[in-house]
Amino acid sequence: MDTSLPLADEFWLSAHNRPDGYSLLKDRALGIGLGTALLAELLWVDHIRLSDGLLFLTGAPWPADDALFELLVLMYEEEQLLPRHGPAGQKVIDWISFLAGDGPDRARSLLEGTLQGGRYAPGREIGSSYAGGRIIHRGRLSRRNPPLAIPHQRRSLLGRGAWVHVPAHINDAGWPSARITTTLQRGEPLDAHHLTLAALYIVTGLDRDTLNPLTSGERAMLQDQLIYLPAVLGELIDHAGSVMSKQVMTG
């Protein structure tokens, strides 16, 4: 199992770690987790910065990753629509809420591509490369980069159900959370990538399924380590928690 998967891909796999491959989270919660993970990826490589709840574009060279590229295109388009005399940044909670929704340009579409009706449409095409469906196409489909997910049609009492994505190999879905739990069980510190992933589990409620092998002492160790999450990622997770809470409160 490739241990250098992007954060959003690993969150997606963890959220689909069940025998039938369906999501452990409701759509909105999954979207919040994936959207926050994508923003975290952009923050990590300094394409955006976060300050006091506002996201700012840094003008760094464009990323090679299609999903991040697609998201940055949208952010640059939105930046040009900001009022001239208002704050220069964009509200991070608005972006998390937007990315959490359904439809093109949202987090799930950027990762899974678009399933239209009964046919599989692998995202929008940009130039000669595919954008959208990162976990399907992995940049360019090859033996070294097999798809992480495949389309699957749910069974329904009334006949054929909706198309969803499930992990290509169900055993792969458990690896990201297993790395976190085994590291903690050995009493070792987690790196920033895995700390952020653990934080995403907790803020979306996925920890009940992914971190259940941990004892209360090991959970406490995780709590201690979370203090050392880089401040900007911690702030991003805080805002994800706000969006998550508001989503719960208003149904």
Binding site: W62, E78, D94, F98, V203, R208
Partner: protein
């Protein structure tokens, strides 16, 4: 790589998408409509109130409460525009009067909404059991029906199966249409004459005034939740106000009309008939014009009304408990989500439900009067207390910082509302033996105020304990999703559950 899009979009996709996710005035009205439950009020609360209290002035009581709520709403909505917190009452008190009282208010609110939710089990059991016997030829005790409904509510909560908003909207509209249709049918019955007695203003100065107002607040329970949607509303300033004023006015007028019609049509035997026929009184009166099918249709929609109210209040309590758990005011476990749903909070309310049903079943207590009516009336008193404290909070909030609100909104209307509400609170407690139909200083006359007082005092004490041992949690009280105490990760705190605390 270049984007294939060669033109800059004129409208922000982000803003458009976020706006589409928000709800308008009609959506807010329907969202709170299930907890208002018009048919439950007209067929259930009004008829049971007539039987238990023997007070004629229910119509004027509802009208008076409706007018009072319209005045209260002026300041309440002004505050809602500034404090967008789905916890509403609790948040307003926290940011105006003080955090200890806010925690007490939050616990009183939980008790209030639980009273309504639990009362529904009594109503549906008492009404559903005879119907089950009629339809299926098998006699079942009331608590069997109540348990089946409890299982439905528990299942929906545990598996986070949201009853479609469209389904709830259809039910609310259907029961409202039924109330109007049946009322008009009763009016058109040959020999019908309107009686002025239910609307006589003298009733408000009579010995039963407190009773009438308590019933009025029971009738309007759930309307205050419109402010909870402020954060998610499209053009919140206009739509939340519209939803609140429109719902109070429309629902209030329907209740007044229907209650007057019931009293007028039932004649001199109204109290005895209400006692003998219960909720069937409304349907039987309409059947004279509409035929016997109207009784069956009424039964079906009455049951769905109660079930919808049961689900709506369960969801409300779950979300409230989740919010308090997230802030640390209740145990943190309630602030956790499972798969994105507040499952722990839902399970807690479910547990309370089964305990109450079991106690009533074991004790052989009458579910219609002692659970449905007493529970609903206790809830009405709770709403009255919450509204009164919030009205004081509005005055305190704007007294410190008038901001740009008009004098009418920040001072005059809240003061009028507060004075009247305080008088009403006094009258309600003084008349509570009549309300509950018991001797003074017995049963619910003592238990209900005691329960609220204990919840208030315990909540205040807990807040003071938090101030001492967990000041970061105390500081976040009432600040909702954005509070530092609800923050996720470690910049100053610990992460627990689907919430954050710095």
């Amino acid at each position: 790589m270049q984007s294939t899009s060669s033109t800059i979009p004129r409208e922000s996709r982000l803003s458009t998408a976020l706006a589409e996710d928000r709800i308008g005035a009609f959506g807010i009205g329907l969202s709170i409509g299930s907890s208002v439950a018009p048919l439950t009020v007209v067929a259930g609360v009004v008829t049971t109130a007539l039987a238990v209290t023997r007070e004629p002035g229910i119509s004027i009581g509802i009208l008076a409460v409706g007018v009072l709520l319209l005045v209260f709403a002026v300041g309440y909505l002004a505050m809602a525009r500034r404090i967008t917190n789905a916890g509403a009452f609790y948040a307003y008190v926290a940011q105006s009067i003080g955090k200890p009282l806010a925690v007490g208010v939050a616990w009183v609110a939980l008790l209030t909404y639980n009273a309504f939710q639990l009362a529904s089990y009594g109503g549906i059991g008492a009404i559903g059991a005879p119907l089950f016997s009629d339809w299926f030829g098998t006699s079942v005790p009331w608590w069997t029906i109540a348990l089946i409904c409890w299982l439905i509510v528990a299942g929906l909560g545990i598996f986070d199966i949201g009853v479609s908003e469209k389904v709830l909207a259809v039910l609310v509209i259907a029961e409202t249409v039924l109330v109007l249709l049946y009322s008009i049918a009763i009016v058109t019955t040959p020999g019908f004459h309107f009686s002025a007695t239910p609307l006589a203003i003298d009733n408000l100065w009579g010995p039963g005034a407190g009773v009438l107002v308590a019933i009025g607040f029971t009738a309007f329970a759930g309307l205050e939740q419109a402010a909870a949607y402020a954060e998610e509303a499209r053009d919140a300033r206009r739509n939340v106000s519209r939803a609140t004023y429109a719902t109070i006015s429309i629902v209030g007028l329907i209740y007044v009309f229907a209650a007057t019609v019931i009293y007028s049509a039932a004649g001199n035997q109204v109290y005895d008939r209400a006692g003998a026929e219960g909720p069937d009184l409304f349907f039987n009166l309409a059947a004279g014009q509409l035929g016997s099918w109207s009784v069956h249709a009424g039964h079906v929609l009455f049951l769905t009304s109660l079930l919808a109210a049961m689900i709506a209040f369960h969801n409300l309590i779950s979300r409230y408990t989740f919010s308090l758990g997230r802030e640390g005011v209740l145990a943190r476990m309630f602030g956790r989500t499972v798969g994105g749903a507040p499952r722990n909070a839902s399970l807690a309310q479910t547990a309370v439900g089964i305990v109450v049903i079991a106690v009533y079943a074991w004790s052989g207590w009458d579910p219609l009067v002692k659970l449905f009516f007493w529970g609903g009336s206790a809830g009405g008193i709770g709403v009255l207390l919450l509204v009164t404290v919030t009205s004081i909070a509005v005055i305190a909030y704007f007294a410190r910082d008038p901001q740009d609100e008009t004098l009418w909104r920040r001072a005059v209307a809240p003061t009028i509302a507060t004075v009247v509400l305080l008088v009403v609170v006094y009258l309600t407690f003084r008349n509570s033996p009549t309300l509950f139909g018991v001797e003074p200083w017995t049963g619910p006359v003592v238990a209900v105020p005691a329960a609220y007082a204990i919840a208030l005092v315990l909540g205040i004490c807990w807040a003071l304990v938090l101030r001492s041992i967990r000041p970061e949690v105390y500081d976040g009280i009432g600040l909702g999703a954005d509070s530092a105490a609800a923050s996720a990760t470690g910049s100053g705190g610990r992460m627990e559950g689907a919430g954050t605390h710095r």
